[in-house]
Amino acid sequence: MRLGRAFVVLALLSYSFQAVFGLGRSTVAKVIAIGLAVVAQIPALVQLGIAAIAPADLEFITPEDYFGIVSLVLVLFCAFTAPEIIGRDQRTRTLTLYFSRALSRSDYVTAKVGSLSLALMLVLLTPQLFLLVGRAVAGEDTLGYLRDNVDELAPILAGTLTVGLLMAAVSLTIASQTPRRALATGMVLAYFVTFTALGSILVETLTGGAQKYALLLSPFGVLEGAVLWLFSARPEPESEILKTGLGGRYYFAAAVVYTVVLLALLYRRLQRLAV
């Protein structure tokens, strides 16, 4: 008996998801990914610890701000894990074995992007859920708080999904350009650092219409703007998003467009790879 295409993609997704965290591999492969995932939980855990001691003095991190706090950790996570799950197949020439089976290039892309997205979502979603529950427990009426704030779940999930998909698409598309792990890691880091800095510089130096759209070049700018829009939240007073004056829906649309374009580029890269 043979299962169909969806189960095959799920099998590759599951295998790749385990590879993200180094499961079934050496200790070294586990340390970086799991270590970074743990680091991304620290702000939430620290807040919960303070809340347990002095809840009245605490202003909780809001879910829409959490991405900005751990964005650097997420970039490091992508830079170290993306080469592992896509460059490795090129390095070991295992792609030949995959594509000589009933696995298409699009199935492969779906599985790889899905696995890294899920991993990123897990890393980002867990602390936000901790904080939501933590705020409920810190208050006087836990169940009442949860009932009143269940609406937060939808934007938390949507925001986490947007961040996971875009960061996975960017990282995997860049990492797929070379089988060399160190080079791929450097390229992913360089992209995020360079374009974030470029966006910030352009916002500070340009004026008028050009300034309005400048932050669309910055991956962090796009994601921050998209997440704020999903939460219907206002940017901080000193935020670059506020300086540009561009509506949040444009950042969300840009996130969607970037994701689609990057997935197309990733698919094209795999089509051109000789197996």
Binding site: M1, L3, R25, R93, T96, L97, S100, A102, L103
Partner: protein, 318 residues
């Protein structure tokens, strides 16, 4: 979810059939040139010199490369339009290294079984079975990076077998193996063909291996088909009769030549070709007429290496 079954084809239909198949790279390189061949069941050897087009042909048949002309069907599936369905029934063992180093053979073959569509429990059972069949026991739990070349080749074969394909495609399966390893791999391939009852297409540049393992032979050169036939037909057409006489050897050779037989010399022996009328009576009659003693009359056959490298055979004989 339903998976497309093998097409309902006649049992006598060829497993692999190409018609005017061509593959051109750019404007200069014609890797496969109007190749038309039909390959049936059993173990078939694919031979040719480096650059003959073997690997290109294999990749086209696997659906990894698009041909630039002609058509090909494998197991009844068109290689261009029905690739996903075709690949469910193929197993492929590439020539090059293709295994991850930090995963055990068990985990990797299990993963390949899942990628081929086997449910989890069936994949586990099947992975264990094929690893046992290829001779990997306790070592299957160690990372593949710690394996010898022979063990890695066995893992490559195991992942090609794990999903019970109907056609196994092996590209230089003894590559990098020492003589003992080569023997073991060839025995394994022969056993796979008989015990698993699957057809095999095996590419090799070592004709001795082909002759030992294969039932059929396809020879290509410059992307073109040279000949496709059973192994026995190849070697029977080159059977010879070795004749040793007590004297007047050259006169005997001349008389046999005048009677239409192809005669060559090998040391003190005359080698009379047997691809036409049997020469036994002619040799006896001419020897009797010349009044020479007939010391040896022995049927021999060339092996494939004699057929394809006659210059080297002659040089060695001298």
């Amino acid at each position: 979810m339903a998976v497309q079954a093998l097409p309902d084809v006649s049992p006598t239909a060829p497993l692999i059939e190409t018609r005017e198949l061509s593959k051109r790279y750019g404007k200069q390189v014609l890797a496969v040139d109007s190749l038309s061949v039909a390959i049936g069941g059993g173990v078939t050897g694919l031979v040719g010199a480096n650059g003959a087009g073997k690997s290109t042909l294999i990749k086209i048949l696997l659906g990894l490369l698009d041909p630039t002309g002609g058509s090909a069907r494998v197991l009844g599936f068109d290689v261009r339009s029905e690739r996903p369905s075709l690949r469910r029934w193929l197993g492929y063992m590439p020539e090059h290294d293709c295994l991850p180093v930090d995963v055990s053979a068990t985990d990797f073959v299990l993963h390949m079984a899942r990628i081929s569509g086997l449910p989890a429990a069936a994949a586990r059972d099947r992975a264990a079975e094929v690893l046992r069949h290829v001779g990997l026991f306790e070592e299957r739990y160690r990372p593949i990076g710690s394996y010898s070349t022979g063990m890695k080749q066995r893992v490559k074969l195991a992942q090609a077998l794990v999903h019970d394909p109907r056609l196994l495609v092996l590209d230089e399966p003894t590559n990098g193996l020492d003589p003992q390893g080569r023997d073991e791999m060839l025995s394994l391939i022969r056993r796979v063909g008989s015990e698993f009852r699957m057809s095999i297409l095996m590419s090799s540049h070592l004709l001795g291996e082909i002759e030992r393992v294969c039932d059929n032979l396809v020879v290509i050169d410059g992307g073109r088909l040279v000949r496709s036939d059973t192994i026995s037909s190849f070697v029977e057409s080159m059977a010879v009769l070795a004749v040793e006489v007590s004297g007047r050897r050259d006169e005997l050779a001349g008389r046999l030549t005048r009677r239409g037989f192809e005669v060559s010399e090998e040391g003190s022996l005359l080698m009379v070709a047997m691809d036409g009328e049997p020469p036994y009576d002619a040799v006896r009659d001419e020897a009797a007429d010349l009044e020479v003693g007939l010391l040896r009359l022995e049927q021999r056959r060339h092996n494939l290496e004699d057929i394809f490298r006659p210059d080297e055979v002659e040089a060695q004989a001298e």
